[in-house]
Amino acid sequence: MPKPLPLAPASPVPKGVDCGLSKAHGVLSGQCDMTGMEFLPVLFMVAGIVLVAVATLFVSSLLRPSNPYPAKNMPYECGMDPAGEAAGGRFRVQFFILAILFVIFDVETMFLFPWAVVLKEIGLVGYVEMFVFMLLLLVGFAYAWLKGALEWEV
């Protein structure tokens, strides 16, 4: 779901009047009265997807044979006993935490671009708000760093 950008009330667009201007800047403004209705089809789509997925899982759970047992659930290694790192079942996923950190800062960058485009219009409050947002992320980053998320354990 598109998150409304931190647009300041000091914006030149009058509240609930002009939907066209804010769109012309490539910004989905939270100031247009139509905004709530605009995303109704998205809600329907999400509801439809969830309904279809749940119905599919339910019907197939009725129709499929289900007989799990330990030998069947073992990792497949050509019929041999599993060897090596995966033999214990689970193993450390070093890249996972790095990937999570990357996604956070990737999203931050994604927000920075539209913010930079409308920077002049949103004024000082919008300018400061983005720094608050970045500060919050940096606190999280510092926490992850102190907890040793960036250490590579062999």
């Binding site: 499929r64 289900s66 030998a71 497949y76």
Partner: protein, 167 residues
Amino acid sequence: MGGVNNAIRDSVLFTTADNVINWGRRSALWPETFGIACCAIEMISAGCSRYDLDRFGVVFRPSPRQSDVMIIAGTITRKFAPVVRRLYDQMPEPRWVIAMGTCAISGGVYNTYAVVQGAETFVPVDVHVPGCPPRPEALMHGFLLLQEKIKKSRALAGTALDRVAGP
């Protein structure tokens, strides 16, 4: 086996589902790419262009997780029987087994301390294909027999719907 429960299983809903599901199952029998001894050469030949098992929907898969059928093509030694059993265990259900060749059926000429005397001793075999080794046509005949067997089976046996219908 109560008469009422059988009446449910013989109802239109169940028999139609049986027909449709069994049509799907017998039309796409995917065997494991799994050859133990010389019978495997005939199995490979049956899968290649001259005999072309693909036209029956028989496509070899490299993993038991994707397979429906295990063709035991060759002599099973005592050391290898646990592996065969585990590969059978790791196939999703429903699953079928074809014992191909005399060795897989009964141990054949290898009546020794090292050879298991027949796959039937440790996995449930559905179709026996005799021969030493059987020709590709014989393996095809085995697949056709297996298709007939699936056609007669109850597709919903062992499912949640079957349990709802009663014991």
